[in-house]
Symmetry: D3
Subunit: 233 residues, 6 copies
């Protein structure tokens, strides 16, 4: 099996971390092909960044089948281009945001998401609302550290721990989603501090892609119909 | 007052109809500046088209203030790039989809949207769900005539009349929204046949832009925060 | 165009302020006819007052067409008699409560209403729930100053500023509606203090009445059916 | 115990039927005081009628305590003036609409209401929405026979039977509420035809008033606060 | 009339209190037959206890008709086995949880439940969600005193008073349900302290059972269909 | 890894089919331990059967850890005892109903469930409502063939095909869940007939158990708290 992971930003910065996660999470015989954008923003921290990136994600999703892949992952908690990508390929396309939000429903009644910035809170909540999941995932709290400063150091770690504590004590959250692909590798420290499910969207989504392919499942072409041909300039 | 209307497709096909609608709908002293995309699809009939167009809408929205405009309209029922555009300008940005859906709430309890194609139904419903309006706007029915064949001739007109009839009799809809910017000019014929509010999103949105500017209102920068600087390639 | 504004209380106290707002908000060629009740309460601060007023609003709404008006406004945030008035006239009938709540949906994701008294909170929330808008307008906070003491002085102004601050910091509201027709003229001071959309229902509704008439729109007679004749004593 | 029943229309037409229902439903030692309006409409078939009646209901509700009553019933499925009446008396005030809708929740998952006229459907649905019960009571179907022609004859009976059949077969309703105080005495015939719970709002509400009084329960003065004094003309 | 009350725990501990409540609440001619489980847990404080008890409740419910009863009450706020019991008897089956939650809807807009333990909060909330009542009953607060220590002494009473105060001031609750069958007899003290409706589920449900029987009402066999025969080992 | 599968009925009838599914779905090094009940019903076709089975599921779930298992599956679309089992073990416990409903959210906007009997429709809908997923999974249609006649023959297959067709054409469902553990092995025939995602809960849940264990995830002990000790008779 080969899975194409699209990191929807124009930087190589995350490639090694994703490769590392894939190595830890996927079966030995599952190959991963990690791509990032040539054009578009270096980070997705706003609706603006997301809209600027989404169009560039699509050719990479479309080409995955021809390149021998059986599934596509969009590796950003915003899932830029997710619905559009599903229209243009018959391969299963997974976004790490949707995948982790949906999976979390099996772990707790009341779920919270730690996101990076204040700027992302409404953006994530709009997606949860569109999915009809607000009653189950009512809490999104920002860490307020810019993505590009995430170097897994102690400052970030302390910020996450403190935010997580607030989410449990004040927001009465019962499971946590680390709502940014950049938070790879921080789950262990959280688990030392708290005894709650902490969901890392990236590794989970890698595994769910395998499940989709194993079961021969993909997205409904009734929900995501093949687009009619339209000239593009 | 000057309003920039962005037609988010790469064709001049709609410019005259929009200019005509603006002439009929705006106050004499309101100027309209109609732009279309240089790059992107010629029509928006899918999530794919929408994602390919949205990124190109944004520079036009961003530049509106510098060009002396006081408001921006995205002239497509999908509102491609609406949230993103609101982040990058302090001018009010209106989408003809959102504007007409919200306004319709004042005219009836149960609202329906006629859209062009089967392909657009889920796409529109996702947006209504994200806005929390599904209970009030539960019905979206397709006309199933491709946008590019819309030449306002009798065939389209008959199709709209028949679809509208179904929506009232079967779906118990109490007000109709003509869910495509391309349906400009068809409302009169519908009003001859039915005695219901029929909302034409384009002309309505032109007027709402005037209202926004007159009242000095714009979108909340708490909902649509200014993006942090991110390098783009 | 002529618009009838019904102030649904039995006092002339608000007539000048409404006339002033109309002068500022309406087009020069739009005439406004301001009426108040001969019978009924002097203020609407309870369901009781509202029920006692609503019946007296209706003849004024019904007579508007015969008096050459093209639209009717009920100038009270409770919208007393709104649905009933829509049944008995083909003219568009707007309530400043509904109109501002609906319009606010275009400005922010999470909206709050400042109301006058604790007594009004549940009353307003019931209307928002009936409209299916609770998810978008979850916050109603009272100012706790009786309507009849509203003389626009500094005390009221300070109270509004403090309440607004609480709504933004504690309730995370992203746009504000001044939920009382009596708050005319206070928006400017709020805008000096905060950088958020502040919606004044009265002026907005005057403009929306113009829009309705300009577009030839009115309410659905399927939602608000003409009553069958019933003898009244 | 003495219960005041307010029939909120200006006719004696229903008094005997209510007295009969009270005799059958109440305990022998419970006294009932049946009043109708002196002013207002003879029937409530619209929001208009309801708004014209509600104001006249309130003095009768307010006076109930002074007249030695322990509870008040508003005997109309629209519950005109219900919330207002609760504000001005500490006695429990029950509406036959709300009481039967709430009680029905204990009998079935999916509940339907038979109403008299097409004109009442939206009016009832608005109240159900305001109560947050739409998911449980999604169906309201009209009988389309005017209230004043209700003389319990075979025509009405046949109409109800046919409407009930549609509600079960087409709407998959699992319990029925006879949504008009005028339908007194028809339940038996329905029970011969169907094996479903059929709730007669009037008799049920009489009994629930006894329960309220027996248990010393009334409505929350936090939900229905005592109105501040307001001059009325 | 004879009502069977099933106390779904394997202890006699509550029998006298229930008999006392029945004596106070039921009509003199209503007989009550109080049963408890022979097998199963001594208290229900978890989903685990509930699942272990529910199966044992059912034969007692099934046998009620043959023993000359006209109604069945499951006397535990969790309503263990409620839906199942309704399938296997035509007698009305009431649970004190559901009954009090539904009745409370008539007393206030925003309702809160005091429960015994932290362990019960999610369990109760799941039931409220399944009933579609979360918007009206959003608050469940634990007292955090184990059920078996409930001896009505001052410590429990003080705990309830303090919890009730928090629910009104912090959670803005407008009516209270004492969410445990074990809280019998504490309502009076609460009413001295607060001026709010306080609903005691047990006595209320006894009365509602009488109402059900008096009106010849029971549960819908469309919602709770007779099970097909299945062999059981 | 070892997974305990509990078939919550007192018959060996399904053991081979489950073993077959496990062989096809699990990794070679994942061991499966299939257990069925000694006591309880032979099939679960009602709330009654479910309540009679659930209590017997729990010791098997509790013992799984001691027997060297890393996960527990309850192999029935009703998920009997799911929440209770989660309270008494730290191992992840999956129900094939919940797991497939949640996973389906990633495949389509509007999901439908084929169940066996009319008797199961409300039972399944109550669970979907309790999970807050009704808006996404609004359709449950029965096949109306008793579980014990399911021998995978052509009659059942034809019934499923016809029901599936109705769900797509009439109910506009976009993905299907085969809502009974007994439907193992029928998915292939459905896929020949339709081009939609068809989710087989059993195989999917086996794989999701592997994912849970691989990622070290389990259920939140804040949602499913460890029960306090209670004596059981």
């Amino acid at each position: 099996m080969k899975i194409r992971v699209i990191i929807p930003v124009s930087t190589e910065k995350w490639t090694d971390a994703v490769a590392e996660a894939a190595k830890r999470s996927l079966r030995p015989d599952t190959e991963v092909e990690i791509m990032h954008l040539q054009h578009g923003p270096e980070a997705i921290q706003s609706e603006y960044n997301e809209a600027r990136a989404a169009g560039h994600v699509l050719p990479l999703a479309k080409g995955a089948g021809g390149a021998g892949c059986q599934a596509v992952i969009i590796w950003c908690f915003s899932d830029p281009g997710l619905a559009a990508a599903r229209e243009i390929t018959r391969l299963p396309v997974l976004g790490i945001g949707e995948t982790s939000q949906v999976f979390a429903l099996m772990t707790a009644d009341r779920i919270g998401i730690i996101t990076t910035l204040d700027h992302s809170v409404n953006r994530i909540k709009r997606k949860i609302a569109a999915r009809g999941l607000t009653a189950r995932i009512p809490v999104v709290r920002p860490l307020n550290i810019p993505v590009l400063e995430y170097d897994n150091d102690e400052k970030v770690s302390a910020g996450i721990l403190e935010t997580a504590r607030l989410m449990m004590e004040t927001d009465r959250v019962e499971a946590l989603i680390l709502g940014c692909g950049a938070l790879v590798g921080m789950r262990e420290r959280l688990e030392e501090a708290f005894a709650l499910p902490v969901i890392e969207p990236g590794p989970l989504t890698l595994k769910q892609a395998e499940v989709m392919v194993d079961l021969g499942l993909s997205h409904s072409k009734r929900s995501f119909m093949e687009p009619l041909p339209v000239v593009e300039h």
